[in-house]
């Protein structure tokens, strides 16, 4: 799932947890889901390392990628 979709999903969950009649089972389920999603994003952000690659088009449908060093 893309990060913006995950964030939207988290927002939805937060909103649903405000519903007065939400069955307990479902609330717990949603809550757990939210925590899991949040943890997933956090891990992704913590581990993210910017990657820059130079694209070289060799032929019409042939591309090669070379790591690009910023230094």
């Amino acid at each position: 799932m893309k990060i913006d979709e995950t964030l939207r999903k988290l927002e939805e969950i937060t909103k649903r947890l405000e519903e007065e009649d939400l069955p307990l089972e479902e609330a717990l389920h949603l809550f757990e889901e939210g925590i899991t999603l949040a943890a997933k994003i956090k891990t992704e952000l913590d581990q993210a390392k910017l990657k820059i690659q130079q694209v070289i088009q060799k032929a019409k449908d042939v591309f090669s990628l070379e790591d690009f060093d910023l230094q």
């Binding site: 893309k2 990060i3 913006d4 964030l7 988290l10 927002e11 969950i13 937060t14 947890l17 405000e18 007065e20 009649d21 939400l22 069955p23 307990l24 609330a27 717990l28 809550f31 757990e32 939210g34 925590i35 949040a38 943890a39 994003i41 956090k42 992704e44 952000l45 993210a48 390392k49 910017l50 990657k51 820059i52 690659q53 130079q54 694209v55 070289i56 088009q57 019409k60 449908d61 591309f63 990628l65 690009f68 910023l70």
Partner: protein, 406 residues
Amino acid sequence: MCEERIYTISELNRKARQILEGEIGSVWLKGEVSNLTRAMSGHLYFTLKDEGSQISAVRFKGRSAFLHSPTIEDGMEILAYGRLTIYEPRGRYQFVVSIIQPAGVGALQLAFERLKEKLGREGLFDKAHKKPVPAFPQRIGVVTSPTGAAIRDIGSVLKRRWPLAEVYLFASSVQGETAAEEIVTAIAQAEAFNQRETPLDLLIVGRGGGSLEDLASFNEERVARAIFDCEIPIVSAVGHEIDFTIADFVADLRAPTPSAAAELVTPDHFEVLTSLVAFLAKSQRNMRALLERRVQGLQTHLKGYIFRIPGRRVEMLAQGLDLRLAELLRLTGEAWKKRQRDATRLEDLLRLADPSLPLRRGYSLTFIPGEPTPLRNATSLSPGERIETRLLNGRILSQVEEVIES
């Protein structure tokens, strides 16, 4: 007698001025500056000449002061915009200048204005054609020089701000005679790559700051058309502060520099983390409120029966939940393994608040078959409808005979 009209000098000068202003008006003139004098008032008087002719010119102080204009001197070749008039008290024919540019740049400027007007008329700058730029881009294409400052600036901003991004560089020179062609080719490569290899969320096209001549390729028609035709949303990032390039007008989004482009198109990952914490805190409050409502509901329900949850129990439940939630908050960090253990503990606590408990006491739940939630009001039923009753063991299907409001 002489029938012809005799003019006064004032009348003639006025009439000549009106004809001159009306017929010729404002024009661009190219010529060499000579006899330059600076009056005490700050006005500039000079002569503009070419090989065969000359005209006296004046540039009043303060006029069009907002326009960037170079200091002029004798012998300089300039392009001047102004209006032709006659200074009546002296009967002097003169050119009142409002814009002065060095002749070379002036030509570029004129070409710029003409192209801008042409493309504008064709609708290339219309808002309706602007593609939205995604808020959380993952794959960012960059068309610029691999040896220039732009890619380094973009890289260092993204590293700090949005390291989740993957950057794909499509190399092109960004100044000199071949630049426009190379930029067009690089955009085409990015499109091919986007279609056949890896979809790109957006494309930054630009270079660091430079003189007007350095930026000329971003004012070329084919570059403008390539940007307009590109299917990927394009952010222009040509480093210059005073003016816009044609590329800026036609791009889906304009940034003043490459670093600014990188800032503009990405969220700050610290802000995203902050919103995560806000989510967790809010969900925690909601869960707690929800659980308290359940426990209280259950207590009310059981009032009058032997089994009652003491008030202290409710507090304990709530407190237990708080502890658990505090831990859940930390889970987003490293205490991931604790999660399973805590979850079991919480389930034990919650089992006490389980709404199925009343079933053990002989209560039953009524449903419309297929509906997930039990019925609360008799009035939501009508005679003849089928209902399902759940007991601790087994279910009963029956038909409603009469609905009585309490």
